[in-house]
């Protein structure tokens, strides 16, 4: 009964358009009033203690850093770099799009900004080159979802905070899987482009020109090196790295690229602060949720029922992936992490999966859910950017989702892809 109030309440309140975080809070309070399983004081205290976390601060800084970098100049320069290297091959523009999104992912912490930033510039160009509108917009939507897969990633930060897994380890583990998903999209684009005869640019860049373009983009290209290099080199924690990226963003944005003036800074800061608050509210309001779950033994009950269904590791991992994909389509990403990570982690660790590896799987699943019809948020952004109907993009995205799921399955069943770097560097 407690479980029904907890989950039923959450679904009911969300359906009534109460903000997602507040819905979970109301469900927790209803459960507390009904069963007295934990004290309301515990919940009230948790509103402060859950937010009182240094790792959690990385979220706001990565969002702000991404926004500072994303203003005009940087996405343009990243596209130029990608064009210099991939532009002249068959399906050049498609390859450039994916590559630019991957670069951008290594700077920003979220996916939907990527779609808007890169999409607005690439789509008109692709139309001119005769690319199919459905394919182009679906490609933009799915490449944008890489933003959450390649570190730094806000979803990874939240997974780490929720489960107590080292964020540095998850960031390390996320690099190759993110690249693999990107490469899969590139291979698919190449095949499609060959079939439809989408040719590349006529222009072949000389090494000299390539160096020139890299030089123009150097301040943007330095960001991932500072952030990831600094974290992995043990120079600073993920939160410190994110703050350094913010300060770097102030300086580059105002004084080097001069993309915005000091007058515009408050507006940029406010936007990030507000976005962070609205997505992180659930961290506070879900305090008590984990405690209720474990007191009610809900995770272990679910684990047992899954184990009873099949003792095969392969089947269980497939089931977990399927569940995450479905949930990722319908639920907001952070809510899904907070609710599902404590439930599913005991299941998969019982089958020998490392919590770090599971974090990567979860992040990728939820990111794919972000572009899955009927609700994927990235699809709506891509629709606006590409001026295409939701029905059309929903059909065009299907093969790309299949490609990403294929990559996801490889990542699930070959743990070395994720675990190689953390094992190498952290041991």
């Amino acid at each position: 009964m407690t479980a029904i109030i907890l989950f039923g309440g959450f679904i009911l309140f969300s359906a009534l358009t109460v903000p997602i975080g507040i819905s979970l809070g109301l469900a927790v309070i209803a459960t507390i009033f009904y069963s007295g399983i934990v004290d309301i004081t515990f919940f009230a205290q948790g509103l402060t203690t859950a937010m009182d976390s240094f790792p959690l601060m990385a979220a706001v800084f990565f969002i702000l850093a991404g926004d500072l970098m994303g203003r005009g100049g940087i996405s343009k320069r990243l596209l130029k770099v990608a064009d210099a290297f991939f532009g002249r091959y068959t399906g050049g523009l498609a390859l450039v799009t994916v590559a630019a999104c991957m670069f951008f992912a290594a700077i920003s912490g979220t996916g939907s900004a990527t779609v808007a930033a890169i999409g607005t510039m690439v789509i008109p160009e692709m139309m001119r080159k005769g690319y199919d509108r459905g394919f182009s917009s679906a490609l933009i939507a799915s490449s944008g979802s890489i933003g959450a897969m390649i570190p730094p990633s806000v979803t990874m930060v939240i997974y780490g905070v929720t489960t107590g897994v080292s964020i540095t380890a998850i960031f390390l583990a996320g690099i190759f899987p993110g690249i693999l998903v990107g490469l899969s999209l590139m291979i698919y684009s190449y095949i499609v482009s060959r079939k439809h005869g989408y040719t590349g640019n006529d222009k072949a860049y000389t090494t000299r020109e390539k160096l020139q373009i890299i030089n123009e983009a150097k301040w943007s290209l330095l960001v991932p090196i500072i952030i990831l290099g600094g974290i992995y080199g043990g120079i600073f924690t993920p939160t410190e790295a994110a703050a350094v990226a913010v300060i770097y963003g102030y300086i580059i944005g105002m004084f080097v690229y001069k993309e915005f003036s000091i007058k515009e800074l408050p507006e940029i800061i406010l936007k990030s602060a507000l976005i962070t608050s609205t997505i992180l509210v659930i961290i506070g309001t879900s305090s008590g949720f984990g405690r209720i779950l474990s007191l009610e033994r809900i995770p272990s009950m679910i684990a047992e029922s899954i184990v009873a269904m099949s003792s095969s590791k392969v089947v269980v991992f497939l089931l977990v992936n399927a569940l995450l994909l479905v949930v990722g389509t319908f639920m907001e990403t952070l809510a899904a992490v907070i609710i599902l990570a404590p439930i599913l982690l005991p299941v998969v660790t019982a089958y020998g999966m490392s919590p770090v590896h599971f974090g990567i799987i979860m992040v990728i699943n939820l990111a794919i859910g972000f572009v899955t019809p009927p609700l994927g948020a990235n699809l709506f952004v891509a629709c606006q950017v590409a001026d295409i109907s939701f029905e059309k993009i929903s059909r065009a995205i299907v093969p790309l989702i299949i490609v990403m799921v294929a990559a996801l399955l490889i990542i699930t069943f070959v743990p070395q892809i994720s675990m190689f770097l953390p094992n190498l560097i952290m041991n």
Partner: protein
């Protein structure tokens, strides 16, 4: 009157901007001091964490003001205009109910910590100040929700866009945030 309107648009926003800006400087300074000056700051991390709590809870209130909270709109989209308006009003009332419970209980928590006289680990300020972030933030949420509810009741016949969110008095920068 002009000031009041300005505060209605930006009250939480001023603090959010200052808090986030100062936090980023503090943490940047912390890295700089440790690596360049070989001198670790003791207070920067703790103070930033507490400022973050305030920023987040003020942001929840400002999210109500600007209607930026994340919601699932499946059911809402199935309804006709009138139904959408009633549903939105009802969800505000549920949010209000939650906020009242939070303010009452989190004030209790802060009071008992104040009575206990606990201080923070490295800056030594009274711990209850940290815990006041939640009741302050959610009191503002209550205020903002009441503003919205009154607006909605009074403008029930207005077009949905005007009904759902109160326009900014000054239609400039902050409205976009």
């Amino acid at each position: 009157m002009k000031l009041l309107k300005w505060l209605d648009d930006y009250f939480e926003a001023i603090f959010m901007v200052i808090l986030l800006f100062v936090m980023s400087i503090f943490i940047g300074l912390q890295v700089f001091m440790r690596y360049v000056m070989q001198n670790s700051l003791a207070w920067s991390e703790e103070l930033s964490r507490y400022m973050y709590i305030y920023m987040l809870y003020l942001g929840i209130s400002y999210g109500v003001r600007t209607n930026r909270h994340l919601r699932i709109s499946v059911i809402q989209n199935l309804l006709k205009e009138k139904g959408q308006k009633v549903l939105s009003l009802f969800s505000d009332i549920l949010f209000l109910f939650f906020s009242v419970i939070v303010v009452i209980n989190s004030t209790d928590v802060a009071m008992s910590i104040a009575n206990f006289g606990q201080i923070t680990a490295s800056t030594g300020m009274p711990m209850y100040i940290v815990y006041m972030g939640v009741p302050i933030g959610f009191s503002l949420v209550i205020l903002r929700l009441l503003q919205n509810i009154i607006h909605k009741v009074m403008h029930f016949k207005a077009p949905v866009e005007d009904y759902m969110v109160r326009k900014m008095h000054k239609d400039t920068q902050g409205a976009e945030a």
